[in-house]
Structure formats: C-alpha cells, structure tokens
C-alpha cells in the first residue's frame, strides 16, 4: 500500500505538500466510493488544483508505471472509484470552477469537480441541465462523464452522453487532447462518445463542455396507488402505446413505499401494492391536454387514489419520498444490496414475479424502486450482515436477479456502471469476441493499462503490439519522428 518515495515527492512538487495527504487515516477516506462493500486503501492520494497539474500528475504516474484512479465526489455505486493497491488516487474535488456560461450558445464549460446541480443552477431558471442522478447535490460532472449517469428524467431527456459536446482529456500517457468542442458532428471519430461512460479507464477529463436546454414551460406531477406493480405496469404500457412521453415514470413496490413513508410521512397508504409517480413536462398546452388523459388512465387502470401535486411544495414532497426510498431501507433491514439491471419494459411483470419467487426461495426481502419508463430496475436485496451467511446469500440472490434481467434481453447496469461490482456479470451479456473488441479501444487510449485498472472487464488483459503494416516506431510514439 505505497508508492515510491520518488513518485510521492514528485506529486508533492507538482501540487504542493498540503495537497498530497499521507496519513493513513487520510488515505482511508478514499478507500471506497458509495459502494462500501469494496474498499482498498490507496498508495497515495493527490488533489491537483488545475488541469495542467492533473496532466503532470498523470505523466509522473506514467513514467513510473504506477496505476491511477480518478475520483470525483465518491458517490458512485459500482466501486468504480475504488483505489488500486499501490496506485494513486487523483481526486478532482479542487477542480470545481464553472469556466464559462455561454447561454447564447446553450453551452456550459466546467471543471470535472463541479457538482451536477451547480450546472442547472448556473443556467436557471430559463435553462437546465437534464441528467439528474438522485445524488445530484453532491455528485460531480467528472463522475457523471465517467459513468454516463442518468436519473429520473432520462427516459425523456437522455443521459450524460447526450449532453456532452466537448472534453479536454489527459490521456494515460500524460498527453492532453481536446475532443469535440461546442459544435456537434465534428470531423472524425466520435471520441467524446467513446469516452463518456468509459468509467475512468481511458484517461482523466479535465474540462467538460455541456449542452443545456430551455426549461419546460409547465410541469405536472401525480402519484397514483395501485393493488400491485403489475396493475401499475399496465398503466405505464398504456401511456407508452398512447404515445405519451412522460418526463418521469417512477414506481415503488409495497416494501419501498413503507420504507419511504417512514422517512417522509407523505401520507402514502401503507397497504398499497405499488405507487406510480408520473410527471409530464413541456409546453403548457401539451401538458394540460395530456395530463387529464393520464389521470383518467390511472383511474381506469384501477388506481385507488390519484394524488395530483397542487403546487411546487407538493411536487417536491412526491420527489423527496421517491428519492428517500434508498436511504429509508434502513427501516426495513440493516443492510441492503442495490442492483441496477435493465429489462425491456414489457417484461416487467414477469421479471418482478421472478424476483419475488427468488426472494422467497432465499428467505430475503427484496424492495423494488425503479424507473418504469425505461425498464431500469433497482432491486434492493435486504439482509442483516450480523447474521452469518446472510451477506453471501444476498449477493448470490442479487446475482440471480441480474441474470434474470439479462435473460429477458436486458442489461446488467443502466446507470451505475460496471466498476468492480458488476464486472463478474459482463460475460452474461458479452462474449469473448465482444470483450476483446472493447479491449481494442482501451489499448488505443491506454496501452499500458494504467487508468483505473481492474474495472469493467471481467478478467485482466494486456495490450499487444499493433500488428500489421501500421505498426508505429517507438520514435513515432514518442513524437520524435513522424512517418508522413
């Protein structure tokens, strides 16, 4: 758990001694991200203050062949920012300047440590930045770029990748490149698109250009309570077949309702089988016309009660209750294991049935909180870590849930990323040739495998030399000679 003295003093020279914490208790702060199951004390931590310092830090790591892990706010849920033993954690929390608010062109240029919410705040109320992960108050744009973060509104508005137009990136060899810009469809490969969601394995973004959009004119929100998730699911299907694209479609099952109600006292019926949050946004005309239709659909679909938010305060309560569901699980069980699988939305009823069956088989409760529009489930497997064997059983059950989702044509992760947590499941989605092709991209950016190694890919792999007529001479690699 250390790096060489030489590298440490180099890091200190670059960033200043005060930005290279060395006490063990300081290093411990960085041992895991939001997924506490995975921990590793890093060899060193460095907090550069500028993009140029990041570049020099990465170059120093490269020279000494030391692996590094870039870290934003540490709120990730896949162990993506878990340190590497004997590696360097590059914390970007000091790079938190909003460099440019170019409203005329609907672009904002930020450093990676800026929080997600700060972007919307910088351009509001006329404009906003749509991707809104539940952790948006603390999570950083750099982390969002690494994970391609989504959020409750991404069914309609899309993900981080749909809003990043330009990046300044420090490549793992310490070279800084500009990818994309403020414009779209720039010539050549879409390296911005390849970088977003690469989970820190292709380099470190030091500057991010984001697209912001006009805020919707109207927002209408309701929560409807049903006997069962399958009844609520039917309403979602009807909405979709009517061509209604809701701003958000969120569902909670009974266990999640009870936990969340305990946290916010929103007055949700404790015996409801499902709560469905529907939010429409857009132009006043369209919103009004569609909202009445949606209320009617819920009532026809068997809703006991449809609660329409009368004002911003009531809307905020609905959202607070939904977003409280994760944290409130403590009321139901001492520990939980969260998954992030995605299914084709139409398979929801059968997959939820399967999850219930598996839960009974394992004698563990599973709460479901999910983005119903895009089929992104967040099953929360509840367990008690103090009971011998229960954590292992919970993990095994979580794994079976992931497999059930993939078997239905889904994905192992919709927004949390693969990280260390889900890399074991990658072979259930991708064959050996698929994984080897991913590795080609990795090798183009990071032939030495220094950037966040041990993440994403299920087994470690190395980059061979480039075969064939295009092999580059070492002098070319070093930029000393150019072939043409």
């Amino acid at each position: 758990m250390s790096v060489s003295e030489e590298l440490l003093s180099e890091l200190q020279a670059i960033c200043g001694t005060e930005h290279v914490p060395t006490h063990r208790h300081q290093l411990r702060t960085y041992e895991s991200d939001g997924l506490l199951q995975y921990a590793q004390i890093p060899g060193a931590v460095v907090l550069p203050g500028t993009g140029e310092e990041v570049r020099r830090v990465v170059a120093a790591c490269h020279r000494s062949a030391t692996p590094f892990v870039a870290r934003g706010s540490g709120s990730g849920l896949s162990g993506g920012a878990m340190p590497v033993k004997d590696g360097v954690v590059i914390s970007l929390s000091r790079l938190r300047r909003i460099l440019e608010v170019d409203l005329a062109n609907q672009r904002v240029v930020v450093e990676p440590g800026v929080t997600n919410i700060a972007v919307s705040e910088a351009v509001g109320p006329g404009h906003f930045y749509p991707p809104d992960p539940s952790s948006q108050i603390v999570c950083s744009i750099g982390g969002n770029v690494a994970e391609n973060s989504g959020g409750a509104h991404c069914f309609k508005y899309g993900f981080t990748t749909n809003y990043v137009t330009g990046l300044e990136v420090v490549l793992p060899d310490g070279q800084m490149v500009q990818l994309g810009g403020k414009g779209v469809d720039v010539p050549g490969y879409d390296l911005v698109g390849a970088f977003v969601g690469s989970e820190g394995t292709l380099g470190v973004a030091t500057k991010v250009t984001l697209r912001v959009v006009p805020s919707p004119e109207a927002i209408r929100t309701l929560v409807a309570f049903f006997d069962s998730t399958s009844e609520a699911g039917e309403v979602v299907s009807e909405l979709v077949s009517e061509g209604i694209v809701a701003g958000a479609l969120e569902m909670m099952d009974n266990l999640a309702i009870r936990a969340a109600e305990g946290a916010t006292n929103a007055g949700y019926p404790q015996d409801a089988g499902a709560a469905l949050v529907i939010e429409l946004d857009g132009s006043e005309h369209e919103c009004e016309a569609r909202f009445d239709q949606v209320v009617e659909m819920c009532e026809h679909g068997g809703a006991w009660k449809v609660r329409v938010a009368a004002d911003e305060e009531e809307r905020a309560l609905i959202w607070r209750t939904r977003k409280a569901a994760f944290a409130a699980m403590g009321r139901v069980a001492p520990n939980y294991y969260v998954q992030d699988s995605v299914i084709p939305r139409t398979r929801m009823a059968s997959v939820l049935g399967k999850i219930e069956e598996l839960g009974e088989e394992y004698g563990l409760k599973v709460a479901n909180v999910f983005h119903a529009g895009d089929g992104n489930l967040h099953p929360l497997v509840c367990y008690d870590a103090s009971v011998e064997g229960e954590p292992e059983r919970a993990e095994e059950l979580a794994g079976l849930i992931v497999k059930a989702c993939v078997d239905e044509g889904g994905s192992i992760t919709g927004e949390h990323g693969v990280g260390v947590d889900k890399k074991q499941y990658m072979p259930s989605m991708f064959g050996e040739d698929d994984l080897a092709t991913f590795q080609r991209l990795r090798c183009a950016f990071d032939p030495e495998g220094l950037a966040n190694p041990g993440k994403v890919m299920p087994t470690p792999r190395l980059c061979g030399e480039v075969p064939g007529p295009y092999r580059r001479h070492p002098l070319e690699e070093a930029g000393v000679a150019e072939r043409m």
Binding site: Q178, G183, D185, G193, G282
Partner: protein, 384 residues
Amino acid sequence: MSSTPATASSHAPGAQEELSAVLREAGEGGASVRFRGGGTKFHWGAAAAEPDVELSTLALDRIVEHNEGDLTAVVEAGVRFASMQEAFASAGQMLALDPPLGEDSSATIGGVVATADSGPLRHRYGSVRDLVVGMTVALSDGTVSKSGGKVIKNVAGYDLAKLFAGAYGTLGAILQVAVRLHPLPPRTATAVGVSDDPAALAAAANELTHARLELQSLDLGWQDGQGTVMARLGGATVADPAAEVAGLLSRHGLETSVDEDDQALWDGARAAQRSREGIVVRVSGVQDQTAALLERARELDAGLVTRAAFGLSWITVADGDAVESLRRTLAPSPCVVLDAPAAKREALDVWGPQDPGALALMKRVRERFDPAGACASGLLSGVG
C-alpha cells in the same frame, strides 16, 4: 496490395457471417475493402483509390425485431431506411431520424449510421449517436462483435456504436443496429417566417432556440436572396402553439404563416442538405454564428440550411475557394465537405484542419480496430 486485381470484385452477402467471412478473406489477403449500402453517399469522404473489394450490405435486409411496447427495434445494415420507417409508422412509431435519403430514397440504415447523417428531427431527438443503442460489427480480421444492447438505458461496456457512427466504414463493417424508437406525434403544424434580412432571421431563430417550447424541428434556410425560419410543433395540440410561434416571428418583422399540412416544407429542408452540382459544406458551428453565416450565404449566393439550436449548417457553394473562405471566416468551427462533383473533389481538403492530438488518437483507434488498414482506406484524411 499491388498484387490484387485492378477491377473491384463485388459481393452482396445474404448473411452476416458471410459478409464477415468475405471481409476477413480480403483483410488477410491484403486487399482494400469498401462497404456500400444504397450508394447515395458513396462519394462522401476524401477522394480515395478504388477498392479491391466492394461489399454491399443490401442483402442484409431484415428487420430482426420491432418491439413495439419497448419502443426499440433491431435491424440489419442493408435495410432501406424508408421501408423501415414505413414499418415503424404502421405501429404509430418512428426512428426519430430524418436525413435526406438520396435518389429513389434508397439510403440504408447502415449508410446513414456510418456517415452519422441527420435531418430536421435532430432538434428534438438528437442524431444517430443518440438513437443507436446497440451495434454488431465485423472487423477485418473476421471478428464479429456486439456492443450496447437492445434496451434504451444501458451503460455496460464501451459505447462502440458511437465510434462506428460517422466512421465511414474505416473501423469495420456495421452488420446490425439496435435503435430506440419514438411515438409519431398525432398532429404537426409548422410556423413559417420569411424575410430577406439576415439579422432579423437570425434574431428570430435564436429567440426560438431559447423559448420554453418543445419544438420538433427548428430550421433556418436561405435560398436565392430570401430566408425562412420554420418551427414545427408536434403533439396533441399544435394549432395554438404554432400561432404563438408565428406571433413571435412576426414581432421580428418576418412575414408569417402556419401550415398544418407541412411535410413538403420539411422535405425541402432535407433536400437542401444535398446537391448534385454544388459543393455541400457541413459547418459544425454555434448558434451565435447564425447571422454571420447568413451574411456569407448572401455574399456567396449560396443555399443554406441551419439547425438553429445546434448551429449545424449545410451550405452549398460553387468552388473550393468558397470552402476555404468559409473555413477562414468561421474558424474554429469545423467545415466538412459532403457532396462535391467528382472532378472538384480531388482538389478539395474534404475534412479541413483538425486538432493534431485528437487526430493522433483517432489513428491509434483505427490501428487497433483495423490493423491491416483494409477498411475504407483513405476516406478519413489523416486517420485512414
């Protein structure tokens, strides 16, 4: 490569495995390969040598899945774009991508993805990169691999579809894509504003880009001394908001009208992205260049269509000097040549100047995916 025959051999495999086998054979034999769909954009890219082998995707023409309830579809590369849209439309859905489809509407989904072409719907729904959720490709060493999936939300593995979208086939062959679909709007209406004053047109379009309206499309066109702003509403209620938009346009001094039978208007906007005789330059600009761009179009007597909210424009000029003059005045916004008559293409710098660091990285990417340099060589200047 000199040992291969001068005349291209053509293949149109009827199965994905067959296409990948022909590609591998070519790659191993040192032959150069080009992929061809409908052929409507086959001349795009830098002027390149004739390939030894031409691989047509036209026999890969199956709509593999259309999952109506999930708003997704899986289609093979050679599917005609227009017939695919008809199939989706019969379920009240669309792939929200409307590039010009060329002669006889023969463009294929594979060709549209490989060139990352787009149309007016981009305003609301994004581009190829935003709508393709999964892809299967064949590489020149015979590898067939998939990335992404067929659900609309998925972050497992690298997003290789983005890399292949707009790569012009230089990384390998696109065999199949999974796409996200959207509901067709029940009604549409378009507010139109006409003027010959570039400043008024640009101001009106820019105000609309910031308006809290959910427009389907927002274009600004210029042709023969006159400009047009077109804003399309789509949804359950379109007449009132279209009238509001028309009101906004008229406050900028534009002569306005509202058209509820508006398809022909938008077909016109798409057609303005193509030219048989002229040189079409795509400008990746920003919104506040719109006025300057209109001025340039007026001076050069050039046709122009701009996706106003993105600053993305297609401008049709007469010669290479005009291309270079656009690059000078609009720098650093990239200006890429799309259509150009064969006789003029040779002398044109199709891609224009690019960031050397990014270019070097692109080269490294290509070397990893197509180490033999077999695929679509020469189309992307400086990369392969």
